[in-house]
C-alpha cells in the first residue's frame, strides 16, 4: 500500500528534521507513522536507507527547482531575482535546511546528496550562464561564493524576521542592500 510508505516517509522526515539522523529513532518514526517498527525495515531495510531516501525526497521536493531568468535581464536584476528566489526557498524550509547542513557537515549524507553542493552548484551554474550570456568578464566563481555565503548566512547566522515573511517592499529593500555592495 502506497499509503503506509507515504506515512513513513512523512513521519521520518519530520523526525529526522527535528532530531537529526543519529538522535532519531526508528521507534519514534514508526510511532509517528502509525506503523509497526518492522514495517520500516520491510520497506527500507535500514535506518540509514530510510534517512537517505527521506533526504532525497526532500531535496527533490523542495530544492530541485531549476533557476530560470530572462535572457535580456540586467545583471542587477539577475542577482536580485537569484537572491530573492533562493532566500525564499531557504527561509520557507529553514529547519530542513539546517538539518541538511548539519548532517552534511557530520558526514551522514551520501556524496551525491551533499546538500551544500547542491545549493551552491545550482547558484554557481546560474551565475556562470548569466556571465556567459552577458559576456561579462568578472570572476563568476567568486560571485558564486559570495552569493552562496549569503545564503548560508541566512540559514546559519542569527537573523531577524524570516525572509519569506517580509512584505514585497521589505524584501526589495533587503535584497538591495546586498546588491549595492555586490553589483557595482
Amino acid at each position: 500500500m502506497k499509503d503506509k510508505t507515504d506515512q513513513i516517509i512523512k513521519a521520518s522526515i519530520s523526525v529526522f528534521v527535528k532530531k537529526g539522523y543519529i538522535a532519531s529513532t526508528t521507534k519514534e518514526i514508526a510511532l509517528k507513522a502509525n506503523v509497526a517498527e518492522v514495517t520500516l525495515y520491510r520497506k527500507f531495510g535500514t535506518k540509514k536507507n530510510l534517512f537517505e531516501f527521506s533526504v532525497k525526497s526532500i531535496t527533490d521536493d523542495k530544492f530541485s527547482s531549476v533557476l530560470e531568468f530572462k535572457e535580456e535581464i540586467s545583471t542587477s536584476d539577475f542577482f536580485g531575482q537569484l537572491l530573492d528566489n533562493r532566500l525564499q526557498v531557504i527561509s520557507k524550509n529553514i529547519s530542513v535546511v539546517k538539518m541538511l547542513i548539519s548532517e552534511s557537515l557530520a558526514g551522514n549524507l551520501p556524496k551525491d546528496l551533499k546538500f551544500t553542493h547542491v545549493i551552491f552548484e545550482n547558484v554557481s551554474l546560474a551565475i556562470k550562464q548569466h556571465f556567459s550570456i552577458k559576456k561579462l568578464n568578472g570572476d563568476y566563481q567568486t560571485y558564486s561564493k559570495i552569493i552562496g555565503g549569503i545564503l548560508l548566512g541566512h540559514a546559519i547566522l542569527p537573523n531577524g524576521k524570516s525572509y519569506h515573511k517580509l512584505n514585497q517592499q521589505e524584501k526589495e529593500e533587503y535584497i538591495n542592500k546586498y546588491l549595492e555592495i555586490i553589483v557595482k
Copy 2:
C-alpha cells in the same frame, strides 16, 4: 593531577571533532585518553558536560583572539586583513569548525557557545568599528553578513586547497578577488 584531566580533554576533543557529540562514546574517549571511563565522570560528571567543556576549551583556545587593526588602515586593506585573518583561523581548524557548526545547528551547543554567533559577532564588531573610525556611511551590517557568509562558505562549501596552505602571493590573489567585488 592536571595530567589526566588534560589527556581527557585532548582525547574528548579529538573524538568529538571526528564523530560529533551523539556518535561519540565515553568509552572511546576514555580509551584514547588512557583513562578509566569512570574517571571522565569523576572529573566532568556527564558526557554533555565534558562535551561543553571541550567546546569551550576549543573556542577559547582557537577562536577568541581579538581582531586588531591600525587606525589609519584603508578600507580595502581592512577587509583584506580581516578576511585573511579569519580564513587563516578557519582553514587551520577546519574539522573543528565543521563540527561546531554542525552541532550548533543540531542544537547541541549551549546558548553562550553558539559558535556561529561567535564568529559572526567578532567580525561584525570589527567592521562596525572600522566604519565608525572611517566615518563611512555604508551599511556595516550587510557587510558583516557578506563577510560572515564568505567565511561560512569556506567552512562548508567545497573548496580547493586549504587557505592556510596557499603561499603569500596566492593568498593575496585569492583575497583580492573578493575585495574587487566588495570594496568599490
Copy 3:
C-alpha cells in the same frame, strides 16, 4: 506469547522475594526466566514496573481471598477460624510475606499495595462484621490490632515450626493458647 511473560513474572517473583527490590537485578531475572534482558523491558518497561506488577500478581494470587464465616458462629470459633486461616496463609507464604513487609517499610511499594494495610484491613473488616452481627459492644479496633499483631509476629518474630506444618491437633492447641487470653 503468554509463555514468556509468565516465565518472567515467575522468575521475577522468585528473585525479588529472595533478594528484595533493590538488590535484585534485571539480569538475574532475565537469566532465570530464560529470556533476554531486553524482553523484560519490552514487556514491563522498567524494573520498578516489573516489581510492582509482580507484587500485585502475588497479592492477588495469595492474599486476596475473602474471609467468610457462618453467621451463627460463636465468637471464640470466629477468632479461632480467623487466626487459623490467616496463619495458614502467612505460614505457607512466609518468604513472600517477609519481603512484602520489608519493602513496604522501605517505601518501595506503591500506596495501593501497602501489604500490611491489606492484611490488616482484611482482618479488621471481618472482626467488625462479626461484632456487628453478634451485637457485641467490645472495641473491635483494638481486637483488630491484637490479631494483626499476632499475625505480624508470626511473620517477623522467631518461631518454632511453621504453622501450616503442624497437624490438626497441634494447630488447635496453638490457636487455643491465644483464644484463652483474648476471648474472655
Copy 4:
C-alpha cells in the same frame, strides 16, 4: 580524632535510616559527614561494617534499656507499664524501628543484631519474670507473642497519632483498651 568518627556515625545512621542499607551510598554518607569518602573506609573498612556498627550504636543507644518493675506490682499494672514503656520507645524512634525491621527481614542484619529478637526477648524476659514472681500459671510465651505483636503493629500498621505525642490521659485510655482484652 573522635570528632570525625562521630560525624560519620551520625551521618551514616541518618542516611541508613532514611534509605536502608543497600540504597544508601558511602558517597552520600561521607558528604553528610563532611568527610572524604576514603575516611569511612579507613575507619570502618567496609560499608557493611559501617552499617553494622551504626546499627549496634543505635540499638545500644535507644533500645537496650533494661525493663524494671516493682516486685509488688499488679499484673494489670505490669502489662500497662510494659506496654507504655515500649510504645514510648518505639513511637519516639519510629523511623529507626522501621528500618531495623525492614533490614532484619531482608537479612541484612548480623544474627546478634536481629532487632526483632531483641525487642521480643526483652519483653519476653520481663513477662517471664513477672509470671514467676507472681506465681502465675498462664502461658507467658503466648503473652509475650501478643505483646510483641502489639508493638510490631505499632511500628508497621497504619496508625493515628504517635503514641508519645498523646497526653497522659490519652495514653492511659489507649493502653487500657489493650488491657481490658488481655488481662482478665
